[in-house]
């Protein structure tokens, strides 16, 4: 990574940030819209469940037990056919036994626990919702004339309607994001080159002046490096002077001079 030119690294950073912002925007908008759609769909099917529960309560108030309300089977069958996207409607008693269901094989079985009110919720809870994976579910409680829980109605509906709409929204957003990112990425690359041009030129000139074969730059030092160049020159001069004086003092010691010369060459 360090060998990558500075402008390229900067452009990569800018593009990464743009990518992150786009991903965050798309995913949060997607999730929010999904919630709105789901809430809206739940409202529709919740009305259906509440309406059925109300109709059943009316019959219960006549004094008939829930299991004896044979018209319920036709009632839920009609509502399933009337409301598009409904996968099934079931009616259960307070013990959780399914008394009526548009899927006949469920009648007589116990209601799956995830279909009932949330864990810990009181039996008097009138509305609940659940995500079954392949279906969404809304429930409505049934109470008898004395206000006691008498069972409930559950309506299962197809999530495909929501998925289709959400896929359309996601595709539109992704298409726009890709196009916008492509344009912004090109602009970011150009901006990175432009922004770092002076900086790269400064570093190149500062590096080049240190590469001078004599160790001393030909012209004036690059602005911003005056102090460091002065320090290099000063310390170099102090070392030169010390070496010269020691050489002069040690003229009578040829071995030392030879070794010193070899070291300096290295």
């Amino acid at each position: 990574m360090n060998a990558v030119p500075f402008a390229a690294r900067l452009a990569a950073v800018m593009v990464a940030v743009l990518l992150a912002a786009s991903a965050l925007t798309v995913s949060m908008d997607y999730l929010r819209f999904r919630r709105v759609l789901r809430t809206q769909a739940d409202l529709v099917y919740q009305f259906v469940a509440n309406d059925l529960a109300g109709a059943i309560e009316d019959s219960l108030n006549l004094g008939l037990p829930l299991a004896a309300l044979q018209a319920t089977e036709q009632l839920i069958g009609r509502r399933r056919a009337a409301e598009a996207g409904t996968l099934g409607i079931g009616v259960f008693d307070p013990a959780g036994a399914v008394l009526f269901d548009t899927d006949r094989f469920r009648v007589g079985n116990l209601l799956p626990p995830e279909w009932d009110r949330p864990r810990g919720a009181p039996g008097s809870q009138t509305e609940w919702r659940a995500d079954l994976g392949d279906a969404y579910l809304v429930g409505a409680g049934i109470t008898n004339a004395f206000g006691q829980p008498a069972g409930g109605v559950v309506v299962r509906y197809d999530p495909a309607g929501i998925e289709t709409r959400m896929n359309a929204i996601l595709l539109a957003m992704l298409r726009t994001a890709l196009l916008a990112l492509a344009g912004a990425g090109a602009l970011a690359a150009a901006a990175a080159v432009l922004l770092t041009r002076r900086h790269a030129a400064w570093l190149a000139r500062a590096t080049a002046q240190l590469d001078a074969p004599t160790g001393v730059p030909a012209g004036p030092p690059v602005p911003g490096t005056e102090a460091v160049m002065a320090a290099i020159a000063h310390t170099g001069a102090v070392l030169d002077a010390a070496e010269a004086e020691l050489m002069r003092l040690g003229l009578g010691a040829p071995d030392a001079d030879a070794n010193g010369g070899a070291q300096r060459a290295a």
Binding site: V26, V36, Q40, G120, R165, I169, W202, T207, L210, A231
Partner: protein
């Protein structure tokens, strides 16, 4: 200029190389400006598409509920007709349709058109109303129609909510990515330039015992490598001179004096004194920058705030709705444990350094989230929140200690106020983003899943801290020692800061903004999203003025005045409901409180070292931040209780006015006591 290495003051480096500092500033500003422009452009275009798609795909769904209601009503009418009642003789249609209309504010009117009869309940709106027509089959080819007039305000409100939702998403995306940009720009732009600047400065100041580490192959790396080469060559020449002097002194004893003098002149140049012939030259110390603490703090606060929107709901669901206190208790436990653990955290910073404590704090934080995800009872959930609170206390106090230490070791223009503004802004941004992201995340992955995401993010914050922060920073910020609490509260200035500034600020925040405002707005008929947006005004306004407060603290040198004036401004804002309609006064007051507390937030932290230098020298600044935090927590816990009590006793307007008066009086008291201190 040519002094030894010992005289190099890090904050003087930018004075030595002014060009490099200006270049870095220009480059950072350029990169931030261009990236922000592109960010606004890209996310704006995406948001526009999102809004259009929403209108296209979601709005039709809005009419489905009315259609379902219509279908149910039509079915009953059809059944009555099927039983043999002629359509024009149907009795009780008005009460029947009125019953459907009642309690459904989404409907303005219901009209039943049957052959030869028309029944209408409610008043249909002209123009913008949406009409849902449901056929009524009457048999033998006859048909009627049931018209449901949908209230357009509902659709408009829904569309307005969606636009706000999209705007919030846009804001969150911008804020979150600006935090990412701050870290990446620091690592990519500032770090190489600061390394160049620092190495140049050290060499310019005559320090030949330094060498840049890990130079890369880019332009800055090549320059650093050349400078390293110069340092290496100078050191080799110095060693050669030392060897030469030794040879001269051995071979020519009469030249010992001049040779020693020549060597002394070289040694005075700032070479590593302890270095032998083969010893390596010194290496640079790690660079310390506020940005290195900002990213882990942001990530952690984001993780913590993911659950803010649902903690009370989750607690109630675990309790089964039986215990009235269940919703509020985990929040209170969290605040209480943070208040208790903060001072101990400060002591730990003195022993292990800020980086170590921050990384350590991420462990209980993550453990708490994991425990919360697995909780099956309210007791376990409260324990989980308490464990996470220990992490929160450690992390925030470590960050403050790190940031108070950071300015001294970085560039001179990064003042303490500005450094503390980094803390406030990272925390506020993390809170805003975390709350917004958490609410949609919980909807998708559930409460448990969101806590798992929090655990992963807080561990990532710990790893990021270990990788980017300087391990030595923050130690001097926490000397600790026994009796620190008593000593701190015996200091008049510090006591005034806690009691007259920190406590009232949180009292106003939690009492007015978080408790009274939602209640009164609900009473004014605002929906939940509308209330949420008005409460969010506080954070948005605060973010606008945090930097201004830091500037007042650093450049104007008047942190105490900023704190006092901010308290007074909050107080005056809270008196607005006395003279303005509530619908206007409440949002204006929220915004003014946000602006004022934004101004005061950084100075409140930055003022501590200057306010009580002797106390700071004795106990360190981190424990004082811990006590300040205790004060804030006391204000946070007291706020809702005091506000609710006052509102119950004297009504909303009076309750807000009392809170405003408390803020005004305490600001005045702080001004008087703070100036003397």
């Amino acid at each position: 200029m040519q002094t030894g290495a010992r005289s190099v003051r890090p904050d003087a480096i930018s004075d030595v190389i002014p060009g490099a500092a200006a270049m870095e500033r220009r480059l950072i500003l350029g990169v931030a400006g261009v990236t922000l422009l592109l960010l606004v452009g890209v996310t704006g275009v995406i948001s526009r598409t999102a809004l259009r798609s929403f209108e296209q795909e979601v709005r039709p769904e809005m009419g489905r509920e009315a259609a379902a209601i219509g279908a149910a009503a039509a079915a009953q009418i059809e059944r009555a007709v099927a039983l043999g009642v002629p359509p024009d003789r149907l009795q009780g249609l008005e009460p029947f349709l009125g019953g459907i209309l009642a309690g459904r504010p989404m409907l303005d009117s219901i009209t039943l058109d049957l052959p030869g009869a028309r029944t209408q309940v409610g008043t249909p709106r002209a123009g913008r109303a949406q009409d849902i027509a449901v056929p009524v089959r009457l048999g033998a080819g006859a048909a009627g129609t049931l018209h449901l007039g949908v209230n357009p305000q509902r659709l408009e409100r829904s569309a307005r909510d969606s636009k706000w939702d999209i705007a919030v998403v846009l804001l969150v995306a911008l804020l979150a990515t600006v935090e990412v940009l701050a870290l990446l720009a620091d690592r990519t732009v500032s770090l190489p330039l600061r390394r160049v600047e620092r190495l140049q400065g050290r060499i310019a100041a005559g320090d030949w015992a330094v060498r840049a580490q890990a130079v890369g192959g880019d332009a800055a790396g090549r320059y650093l490598a050349r400078l390293n080469g110069v340092v290496r060559r100078m050191n080799e020449r110095r060693r050669h001179v030392a060897w030469l002097a030794g040879e001269v002194m051995r071979e020519a004893p009469e030249a010992r004096g001049p040779a020693r003098a020549a060597l002394a002149r070289v040694e005075a140049q700032g070479f590593a004194q302890a270095a032998g012939f083969d010893a390596p030259v010194g290496r640079e110390a790690p660079l310390r920058s506020p940005a290195t603490a900002r990213a882990p703090l942001f990530l952690y606060v984001l993780a913590e705030q993911l659950s803010t929107s649902f903690v009370p709901i989750y607690a109630r669901s675990l309790d089964g709705g039986g215990w009235a206190l269940a919703a509020g208790l985990p929040v209170a436990v969290f605040a209480g444990v943070v208040a208790l653990a903060s001072p101990s955290g400060a002591g730990l910073v003195g022993q292990r350094g800020a980086r170590g404590v921050l990384a350590l704090g991420c462990v209980p934080a993550a453990a708490g989230y994991l425990l919360a995800a697995a909780a099956e009872s309210i007791g376990v959930f409260m324990l989980a929140r308490a464990v996470s609170a220990v992490g929160y206390a450690l992390i925030t106090i470590a960050c403050q200690a790190y940031l108070v230490d950071a300015p001294g070791d970085t560039r001179g223009e990064v003042g303490r106020g500005r450094s503390m503004a980094v803390f406030v802004m990272a925390a506020m941004t993390g809170a805003l983003c975390g709350t917004a992201i958490g609410s949609v995340l919980a909807d998708r992955v559930g409460y448990g899943g969101t806590f798992l995401v929090s655990a992963a993010l807080s561990l990532a914050a710990g790893v990021l801290a270990l990788r980017t922060m300087d391990g030595a920073a923050g130690r001097r910020a926490a000397v600790a020692g026994s009796g620190a609490w008593r000593a701190a509260m015996a200091h008049r200035g510090f006591r005034a800061l806690v009691l007259c500034a920190a406590v009232p600020a949180k009292l106003v925040l939690t009492g007015f903004v978080f408790t009274l405002c939602p209640l009164v707005l609900l009473g004014l008929g605002d929906t939940q999203p509308e209330i949420g947006r008005q409460v969010m005004l506080y954070a948005g306004a605060m973010l606008l003025t945090v930097r201004a407060g830091a500037w007042v603290a650093d450049r104007v040198g008047a942190p105490a005045a900023a704190i006092a004036w901010a308290g007074a401004a909050s107080g005056v804002a809270l008196l607005l409901p006395l003279v303005l309609p509530l619908a206007v006064a409440v949002p204006v007051a929220i915004a003014v409180v946000g602006l004022a507390q934004g101004v005061a937030s950084a100075p409140m932290l930055a003022v501590v070292p200057a306010l009580c230098p002797a106390l700071v020298a004795r106990v360190g600044v981190a424990p004082l931040y811990g006590y300040l935090r205790v004060g804030e927590r006391i204000g946070s816990i007291a706020g809702p209780l005091v506000a609710a009590g006052l509102a119950a006793a004297a009504g909303f307007t009076a309750a807000v006015a009392v809170l405003g008066a408390v803020s005004l009086v305490s600001a005045g008291a702080y001004w008087v006591v703070g100036r003397r201190a």
